[in-house]
Symmetry: C2
C-alpha cells in the first residue's frame, strides 16, 4: 500500500480497503471488455459521511475515484483505467424507509433494482423500472445512467421515479435534493444534474423513489408483417387506442436465432420479415373486444399478415421470450452491438438509411435489428461473418461505429439510447450534442469536480 | 427613444418596439401588484433568431431583458422593475407541427395553454397540464415555472410533458435540446436547467410537448370529515386502491365563502371541519362497485362523516366548483395568500404547527386552508380582520411570511409549491435551499447569463 493509501485508514477500517489486483479487476469493470483495468485499490464505504471524507481525501491527494455499482453497464462508464481508487457501493445496501402515505421508498444507492421491486411489491406497490440486469444493477447506477428498460413506453425512465437524492459532489459538498416533495417551485431541479451523468459530478448515496399501483392485467399480441411502413401504421393504431406497456419489434433473423437456440418451432406457419410484440393494459383478464377488433381490422387491411394473442400466462412468457432472448441467442456470434435512438416517427427512414449504408461496405454481413420501437430505441446487431477472425471482425467494427453514429446525427438521434456514454461512446458524443451543449457539460464538470477526481475521462 | 433603443431598429420593425408607459405597465407586470413597474420599452420578436439578436444586443448595451408571457404569474417573476426592456412572447404564437406517430405537438413559446389543449383535443389527444389561468398563460411560461395545476397527482408537472426545448441563453447561444427523443443517454438532460428557472438562464422560444390519450370517464366523490388524521387515512385508502386524478381538500370556512358568494346551500345537512373531493378514473360511466364499497367502509369506520357521489356531469361540475371557486370567493376579503408544499405525509403535522403558530400572534384571524392534498400543496389564506385597514393588514402580512416559511423549513418543505420564487419569495429561498444549492444556482446564472441581463434580480 502506498503512503497516500495509508491515510485512508484514518476514516476507513482495514476490511474496507482492498488492494488485491483480482478484487480491483472484479470491482473496476462493467460488462464491457474493451479497456484494460488499472486501479490501485477498492474501498467499501458504509455511509454518505464516509464517501464525503473519501472525496475530500481524494481532492487532497489528487487521486481519481471510480464509482462501482452493480457493474452491469455496457459503455465502460464504471471501468477504472487510470489507476484510480474504485469506490464500491455494495455496502450501502440498506432500504432505509418505506413511506406508506407518500408511496415512496428511501434506499441507499447500493440496493439492487430487484430488491427495490421486491420491497415495493411486499407493500402492495410497484416499482416499474425493469430490465434483464435487475438482479445485479444498483439503484444508484440506475440513477447514474437514467436507466430505462422494458416499460419506458408506459412508465418513463428512472428520472420519472426519483423524488429525492442525496449526493456527494466532487467538491465534497453534500446535497440533499428535493426531499420527497411532489411540487417544488423553488428554482430549477438539481436532481437532474446527477441523473444520467454517469458519476462525473458526484456520488449518489441515497435515492428516494416513488412507487405506483401494480398494473392491471395485460394482453400480449404477437404479430408478423411484411414491411416497416406497416409496422409504423400498426404502432400508431394500437398506441392511439390502448394503454401500451410495451411495443417491441424484431427482424426475422432475430427470431430465427432465438428458435435455433431454444430448439423450438416458429409460432407462425411461415416466415415474415418483421414481427412485433405488444403488451396492452386490460382491466379484465379476458381479451378485450376492442383489441381483437383492431387486430382483425389490421389483418383485413393486410398491415398484419398473421398474429397470435397469448391465451394464458405461459404463452405470454413464451411470446416475451422471443424478444427477451435475442441478445443471449446472438452472443455465440460475438456480434457488433449498438444501442441508439431516434424519434419514433423516424424509425423506418433511419432503418432504411442504415441498411443501405451497411450494404455498401459490408454486403454479405448479417444485420439483426430489434428494439423498443415505442421509444425509438433500436438495438443494431451485426453477426461475425465466418470468414473473419474475431480480431479481424473487431477491427471492422471500429469502422462501423462512425457510419452508425453519423447516420444517427443525420436523423437528430442519440448515439446512446439507454446504455450511456462512458468511455466507449465519448469520441462520438459531439454527433448527438452541439458544441454549446458540450461546453455546458464541461462547465458543470469544472464546477462540481474542480480537481477532476470523479470518474476521470468518462463522458466529456 | 434613447440612443441604445434606436439601434434595435437594425433588426426589429417599428411595430415591434413600443415605449408607451401604458404598454410597459401592461406587458411588464404579472397578476401581483407588490412592485412598481419600471421599463423602457416592450419589444415583440417574431422568431427565435430575433430573440438571439436581441440578447446579443442587450449584452452589448448591458440592458436587462424581462420575459413577458401570459403574465398570470403570482410571484412577480415576470415584472419589470429595473428599467429593463420587456420581451413579449405574444407574437411567437404558432403551433408549428403535430406529429401523429410521436404523439407530440411543437409550439412556439407564446401559444396559450388552452390552445395547446385544444390542438391536442382536435387530434384525439390530451394535454394534461391544466389550471385556471390556461386561457392566458403561455406554454413558455408553463416551462419557466414548471407549471402544475389540477392534475399533478395523475400526470405530474410540465417537466414530465416536455420532450424538446429551443432556448436562447443569456450568452446568446441557441440550444436545441433533446429534439423529441424518448430515450437519450448522451449525458445529463439540459432541458431541466430551463424548466422552472423563471427565465433567469435563457428564453424558451419553442417547446415540443408530449400528448397522451384522453382520460377515461371519472367518478367524483365529495366527503365531509371531522379531523386531519381521518383525512390522511382516507387519502391513503383511496390512493392505494384507485387511479386518482385529484385529491383536493378544503376547510369549512372555504366552503362557506363559496356558498355565500354563489348564494347556494351546502350539499351537506350540517357543517364539518374539513371536506375532500376526489376524482377517480373509472373504465365505465357507472359508479364502480369497489369505489362505493370503500366509501361505505370509511363511513362505517367513521373516517368519513357524510359523502356524496356525483350522479351526473352537472353534479360533477357543481362539486368541483366548491373547490375551484374558493380563490375567487375569498378575493373580496383581500386575503393574505401563500402557496407552499411539504411531503404529503407531513401535511397534518404541518397544518397543526402552522395553526398553532398563527394563533399565538393572530388569535382572532380567520385562516382558510385548501389545496391539492395529493401533492402536499397547501394554499394558506388569511382573511383581513374588519378592524384592520388594507394597509395595516398588508403590514401585518409581511410579518406572517417569515412565520410561514420558517415552519416550512422545519418540515423540509418548499416555500413555493407551484407559483415560483420570482421577486416575492427570493428573500426566503434559503429556507428551502441549502447554501450549496444556492451556490449552484449562482454558478449556473454566471455561466448562462454572464452579463446578468436576463430577468435581473429574480430568484437568486
Amino acid at each position: 500500500m502506498n503512503s497516500s493509501l495509508d491515510s485512508l485508514s484514518y476514516f476507513l477500517q482495514a476490511d474496507q480497503i482492498k488492494t488485491d489486483p483480482k478484487e480491483c479487476l472484479f470491482y473496476g469493470k462493467d460488462w464491457t471488455s474493451y479497456f484494460d483495468i488499472q486501479a490501485q485499490a477498492v474501498v467499501f464505504p458504509h455511509s454518505t459521511e464516509e464517501i464525503q471524507k473519501l472525496v475530500l481525501w481524494a481532492r487532497q491527494h489528487k487521486i481519481g475515484l471510480v464509482p462501482s455499482g452493480g457493474r452491469t453497464g455496457l459503455s465502460s462508464g464504471a471501468c477504472a483505467t487510470q489507476n484510480e481508487i474504485i469506490v464500491s457501493m455494495e455496502r450501502l445496501s440498506h432500504i432505509i424507509n418505506f413511506n406508506a402515505l407518500d408511496q415512496t421508498l428511501l434506499c441507499q444507492a447500493g440496493v439492487t433494482t430487484e430488491r427495490v421491486q421486491e420491497a415495493a411489491s411486499k407493500k402492495g406497490f410497484f416499482f416499474p423500472i425493469d430490465f434483464a440486469a435487475k438482479g445485479s444493477s444498483h439503484l444508484g447506477g440506475n440513477v447514474a445512467t437514467n436507466a430505462g428498460g422494458l416499460r419506458v413506453l408506459r412508465y418513463g425512465t428512472t428520472r420519472q421515479w426519483v423524488c429525492g437524492l442525496k449526493v456527494v459532489t466532487g467538491r465534497g459538498d453534500l446535497l440533499n435534493l428535493n426531499k420527497g416533495l411532489v411540487k417544488n417551485a423553488t428554482g430549477p431541479d438539481l436532481m437532474s444534474h446527477f441523473i444520467g451523468s454517469e458519476g462525473i459530478f458526484g456520488f449518489v448515496t441515497e435515492v428516494e423513489v416513488k412507487l405506483c399501483l401494480p398494473p392491471s392485467s395485460t394482453q400480449i399480441l404477437l404479430c408478423a408483417l411484411e414491411d416497416l411502413d406497416s409496422l409504423m401504421e400498426c404502432y400508431q393504431k394500437f398506441k392511439n387506442n390502448f394503454t401500451l406497456q410495451a411495443f417491441e419489434f424484431f427482424s426475422d433473423n432475430a427470431l430465427e436465432k432465438v428458435l435455433q437456440n431454444k430448439n423450438q418451432k416458429s409460432p407462425f406457419s411461415k416466415k415474415y420479415p418483421y414481427y412485433f410484440l405488444i403488451e396492452v393494459e386490460s382491466p379484465t383478464k379476458e381479451p378485450q373486444e376492442e383489441l381483437l377488433t383492431l387486430f382483425e381490422s389490421c389483418l383485413h387491411l393486410s398491415l398484419i399478415k398473421d398474429g397470435l394473442l397469448a391465451e394464458n400466462s405461459d404463452q405470454q412468457k413464451l411470446f416475451w421470450s422471443y424478444r427477451e432472448q435475442i441478445s443471449e441467442s446472438l452472443s455465440p456470434y460475438f456480434p457488433y452491438k449498438n444501442d441508439i435512438s431516434v424519434r419514433v416517427s423516424q424509425v423506418p427512414a433511419f432503418l432504411k438509411a442504415m441498411e443501405q449504408t451497411l450494404k455498401q461496405s459490408y454486403k454479405d454481413w448479417t444485420v439483426v435489428w430489434f428494439g423498443h420501437l415505442g421509444d425509438g430505441n433500436l438495438h443494431l446487431n451485426i453477426l461475425r461473418p465466418h470468414h473473419l477472425s474475431k480480431e479481424e471482425f473487431f477491427q471492422c467494427c471500429r469502422q462501423i461505429d462512425p457510419l452508425v453514429f453519423h447516420t444517427v446525427k443525420q436523423f437528430q438521434g442519440a448515439i446512446s439510447a439507454e446504455h450511456g456514454v462512458g468511455l466507449t461512446k465519448k469520441p462520438f458524443l459531439h454527433l448527438s450534442r452541439s458544441p454549446e451543449e458540450l461546453h455546458i457539460f464541461r462547465a458543470m464538470k469544472s464546477y462540481y469536480d474542480p480537481d477532476g477526481i470523479l470518474n476521470p475521462g468518462k463522458v466529456v
